[in-house]
């Protein structure tokens, strides 16, 4: 097992495209879950409508710069549709409806009925040429040793982490304001917030729509990097990557999603490398029954266990304050 190579690959993943994309996506989810207490189990649906909104716009002859607001608008409308029937009810109803909507949307864009627009199971490709044409970075490799990225990746990463920075500033403005304080009050106790004259339903709807729009941006960013949207990429698992990241970094903290995403993708890639090495290269008796295709599922099972562990023992994140944690154990 080449531990150095595994560590370097993990390090690349920690600042790579998925890390940037999920930092952005998790910033949206953090507004919903961390600041407002909403259980949006269909965050992937917002990523999907963002990506498809943009891809379809380009496919129909529009510019990608028109596609971006279209994708955001689609996410805002989705937030309205999902939030309206559920946000007056207990927290679990939103979870039920959003997780269902995520799956239904995936099936819908996959269907032959929507195929004229979405191209069904084949998806839409090469809609981001306009973005890559703008790349000012000369052809070449940038970095040291194995830790190198080509000019295309650097350009994409530049976009990704800039979006993360912008979204963080946006959230900083919002959450440090009286608006953000009202959101946190709702997270703590809806009835108390109502008794103080806060329009709880309106705030929750806003949180769902704004967080969803940020999720849509993340979906667009991932799609731009891959130059591809395909329905089968938008599985429910993606929502829970974001959940794990938010909880890792500390829900309701400004930099939590960024820190969480970097740690998450480092661990994800590291585990992948180590497990592949153990199962494929090494001759360990009880692992003989497994082969390389089992690495993915085992990692997802570990990921589920990690989410459980975090939620039970570290609900305030890896670096959450003890004091806050004690209060939370109500």
């Amino acid at each position: 097992m080449d531990i150095v190579k595994i560590l370097i690959d993990a390090g690349r993943a920690a600042i790579g495209v998925p890390a940037a994309a999920y930092a952005l996506s998790s910033i949206g989810l953090n507004l919903q879950f961390g600041y407002t207490g909403l259980l949006n189990f269909g965050h992937v649906a917002f990523m999907l409508v963002g990506a498809y909104g943009m891809a379809i716009t380009v496919d129909l002859g529009g510019s990608i710069w028109l596609g971006v607001p279209v994708g955001i608008l689609a996410a805002v409308i989705l937030g309205l549709i999902l939030g309206f029937p559920t946000l007056r009810l207990r927290a679990d109803y939103l979870a039920i409806v959003t997780i269902a909507a995520g799956e239904i949307l995936r099936l819908a864009v996959r269907s032959s009925w929507a195929a004229p627009l979405t191209k069904g199971i084949f998806g839409i490709q090469r809609f981001a040429d306009e973005f890559f044409d703008l790349n000012p970075i000369p052809v070449g490799l940038y970095g040291i040793g194995r830790f190198r990225f080509d000019e295309r990746t650097v350009w994409v990463l530049l976009l990704g982490w800039s979006l993360v920075a912008l979204a963080t500033v946006f959230l900083w403005k919002l959450t440090r304001s009286p608006w953000g304080r009202a959101m946190r009050a709702i997270r703590e106790d809806e009835d108390a917030a109502l008794s103080l004259g806060k329009n709880v339903f309106g705030y929750k709807l806003q949180s769902l729509m704004i967080g969803g729009a940020i999720g849509a941006l993340a979906g667009m960013f991932l799609a731009i990097d891959q130059q591809n949207v395909n329905p089968d990429a938008y599985i429910p698992l993606l929502t829970f990557y974001a959940f794990t990241i938010v909880i890792l970094g500390g829900p309701g903290t400004l930099f939590g999603p960024i820190v969480g995403s970097v740690i998450f993708w480092f661990l994800f890639e590291f585990l992948d490398g180590v497990m592949t090495a153990l199962i494929v290269e090494m001759d360990i008796g009880f692992l003989d029954a497994l082969d390389a295709t089992d690495v993915g599922p085992i990692r997802f099972a570990l990921f589920g266990a990690g989410l459980m562990w975090l939620m039970i023992y570290r609900p305030q994140g890896l670096f959450g304050s003890k004091e806050e944690m004690l209060i939370d154990a109500r």
Binding site: L174, S177, P178, G197
Partner: protein, 275 residues
Amino acid sequence: MLDKHPTLANVAPEPGVGKPNPILEADGLKRFFGGLHAVDLEHLEVERGTITSLIGPNGAGKTTLFNLLTGFDRPDAGEWHLNGGPLVGIPSFRIARSGMVRTFQLTRSLARLTVMENMMVATKDHVGESFWGALFGRWRHIEAANEKIALASLERFGLDHMKDEYAGSLSGGQRKLLEMARALMVAPDVIMLDEPMAGVNPALTQSLLHHITNLRDDGKTVIFIEHDMDVVQEISDWVVVMAQGKLIAEGPPEHIASNATVIDAYLGRHHGEVP
């Protein structure tokens, strides 16, 4: 002993009696849970600027009545008015903004907000509380002004030294005080307290009573649910008695204390339950 409120001196102690200057009026309020009549009220008026206690045995419908009046529950029939304005179908947060604020039987401090944030979040008509206002509005001077008011109020309730602590780290009694102080930040005309003395030690009870009479002296109308007859006797201007959802008596405290119906409904029930 405190002076009884002068305007109520000539009001007859009968259930549903009219008052000279009511701030709150309710008519035909009904709420059923299955077959149970949780609240079934013919008529009730609450006099402006007084302390009105709401008493009655367990399950009499006192908290349900609070929930109905503040929009936390919907009545099956009936209407009610605050300052002459109808409140039927108005959501609870608007009722709070229109001047009637409640507290809860189990305190609801916003645990992971600081004491000061608990106070500040209660201010109303704040431009910084809207999405666009938060991003582009000028709200810092409003915050500064509100902070002064909040600090003065915290001083009055003896919580100013805790202002930067998480509300979740306060003691039970301190949370009761904070909840009352916070409700006042909404600048209500009517403040409704659901068992403010429950689970509070005797020393703090005196201080709470003092705060409640102060509220009235500031011109607020106070309605509160209480079990302890001594407390009720001490500070109420008027007492309203409920049993099985109905209004069975109302009047000045000394009248209620000697009222046979009340003793039957209230004490009789309790005596029956003692093994």
